[in-house]
Amino acid sequence: MKNKRWIFIVGLILLIYSCKNNETLTDVDGNVYKTIKIGNQIWMAENLRTTKYLNGNPIYQLRDAKSWSTTQDGAYCTYNNDSVYLKDYGRLYNWHAVSDPRGLAPEGWHIPRPEEIATLIEYLKGDTIAAGKMKIDNINFWLGENSSTNESGFSALPGGYRFGDDGSFHTLGSNGYWWTSTQSYEIFSWSARVFEAFADVNRDKAYMNYGLSVRCIKNYE
């Protein structure tokens, strides 16, 4: 009887863990990412790090500033071209890579559309407070601020950006920028608000050469 009781308890615990969203995602490079369910959406809980398109073709790594600012091909880099930032902040991609038909997002996932960001923000009770629930609650990031809750599990990090006009790097530790299919959304250390459209490729093609982080969202079944 005692053994049956323990088997039952262990079984229930296993069931609990199987119900939790412990799903991981592996990209074409073999990088493994945590994921998180927020409302009815499933998001990557880390920034993208792939160096290849979904079909296996390599994405150009452009370290040189002039090459970065003039390319019309998809490209990636790490902040300051320093691999020390790769693990936490992932890679920065230009819009040519984000929009490449060979696919930047892992199989079964896609670059979020603006309306999917709107759904996320709405679920988090509005743009004025959503960022506080999205920022990672670790004092080592976001200029040491400690008021973020990361209630959503999105675990946003301030990966900064690469300026399109001259290939320079800015705002690591303070600002996080992510691509949607047409523009950016951004989160700042000093605010609980989610901002949008710092880079908007429909407004100005110059933004196509900005380097921003990428979070993918799982395709709906």
Partner: protein, 187 residues
């Protein structure tokens, strides 16, 4: 045993449901400025290095300021990194007996260095003898203005806005190792 089953059942139900968030709309909201900005280190630095000047408090602001803004939002201090060194810098409005001024504390590994705006010599509000200016952070982007003249500023890093209510007076920004001022209003 029955109790264990009930407790585990509750845990299972909550684990299997989606991650609904508690509604904390009215609590824990960090606005642009907050009490966290003013640390003991900042107070100590101002006291030691800027003799005769001190941080204002809410009572130093004109009454109508608080008709627009919540008292939990501190208007005279902001924290951001304006020179991309990964260390927090602070914009402060400081007061003395008759006037107030704008100061940037540039954070470094151990302490600060400070920069005082020569351009920003404001008097207190003529009627109430109090402050009607605040600070916000200006994130990177292109700023186009028509007054006092048509011109643009492309900000690559964070900067600090000096605001008279919702009207921007000027932007303090980092450029080639120096702090510069971009005026956005007729002086």
């Amino acid at each position: 045993m029955r109790l264990i089953i009930i407790i585990l059942s509750i845990i299972i139900i909550s684990a299997c449901s989606s991650t609904d968030l508690p509604d904390k709309t009215h609590t824990s909201i960090k606005d642009i400025n907050s009490n966290e900005v003013i640390s003991k280190d900042i107070k100590a630095y101002v006291s030691k290095n800027l003799a005769g000047w001190s941080l204002p408090d809410t009572s130093d602001y004109i009454k109508s300021w608080w008709s627009f803004y919540d008292k939990s939002v501190i208007p005279y201090a902001v924290k951001t990194d304006i020179n991309d060194d990964g260390i927090a810098d602070y914009g402060l409005i400081l007061k003395n007996d008759s006037t107030f001024r704008f100061v940037i504390l540039m954070g470094n590994k151990d302490s600060f260095t400070h920069w005082v705006s020569d351009d920003f010599k404001k008097s207190f509000n003529s009627v109430e003898k109090k402050i009607q200016f605040g600070l916000t952070v200006q994130p990177p982007g292109r700023i186009d203005i028509a007054i006092p003249e048509i011109k643009s500023l492309i900000l690559k890093s964070n900067a600090i806005n000096l605001m008279e209510f919702e009207m921007r007076d000027c932007i303090f920004y980092w450029d080639n190792g120096k702090i510069k001022v971009f005026n956005t209003k007729n002086k």
